[in-house]
Amino acid sequence: MSFLSDDTIARLRDITEQPDLTGTRYELVRELGRGGMGIVYEVRDHQLDRSVAMKVLTETVDDEWRAEAKIIAALEHPGIVPVHDAGDLPDGRFYYTMKLVRGVRLDAWAAGGHARTERLRLFARVCEPVAFAHANGVVHRDLKPENVMVGEFGAVLVMDWGVANIAGTPGYMPPERSRDARSDVYALGAILGFLVGDPPRPLRAIVERAMAADPAQRYQSARELGDDVLRFLDGEPVTAYRENPLERAGRWVGRNRVLVGLVAAYLVMRVIVFFWMRL
């Protein structure tokens, strides 16, 4: 009696999991990745002659999700991966297709040794589509570096929007049970912490405020959080941190290095003239 090898079992499992695209406009190319709710494939859209990403949900889909898929499809923002199509496959599973993003995931991008300034600029750009979605009543619920793509030319795209009732990912999941825009703010704070590692005090305060256990103590929107990060980048005081006079002076000097240099050069010159004229 012979048993099937692990490889064979894995191969059989893959085949059975593969979406049945019979009679659709799509042809399977390859699997791109797996998430909590489904599997993402690269498929060829023969009707429009282009490659798209297809997410096939492994969970049972209820009406709430279908309604939410429509809302997400209506979100038009350069930082949100557009949904092209949605429906049921012949095998009964729900799918939706979206733009195939070419680039790297944020976690892989962050491993590339980018400067803190560059990381913060990128983070502020992640906040923009999230704020836009919140303004349209959509909450992501599972923001994490794996759901952010950095395109070949630096474009930032947030993926996997608003899957209803998803639990979230440990480390990025807020402590509260009910989810609203502030839950995404918590996850954004965790992403910021992931991106900056051991930051200076004002930046650490931003992370801590975004990840406050009490949602009322957090930034109340992704825009507020992004704006505070931009203020930090511009050398301005951040709302999350009360600085002492010495820190304020240091920040001012750092922000006006050119002026300080010019005035210092002028004063040095004046001192030299003062002593020179006494020789």
């Binding site: 050119v258 002026l259 010019l262 005035v263 002028y266 004046r270 003239v273 004229m277």
Partner: protein, 127 residues
Amino acid sequence: MNKILLGLIVGAVLGVIDGATAWFTPQVRDQMLSIIIGSTFKGLVAGVAAGWYARRVQSVPKGIVFGFAVGLVLAFAVAAMPDPKTGEHYWWQIMVPGSILGGVIGWATQRYGKPAPSGRSVATAAG
């Protein structure tokens, strides 16, 4: 405040301060008034020039270089006038601080003040 007016004010203030530093040089202390007037005038001219430039070119480094150059030229003109008592020229003593102050005025006019209107109206959808 528009950039030319800002340049005028910054140039005047820095000109007065720069002229007042002559007090630390006993040889010229009796000419303080004319030095302060001359220095203020120099600051005003540099301020107007830097403000005018800042309305046309939005670049802090270029603004500083422009202000520096204007300050240098004006300071050269002042330094070219010899000391009435000794006939001596204070070339570098006047030109180096004068050009640095020009740079400060150039920085200030780039960093602050209202930029010139673009002159373009917003296109409408009906365009």
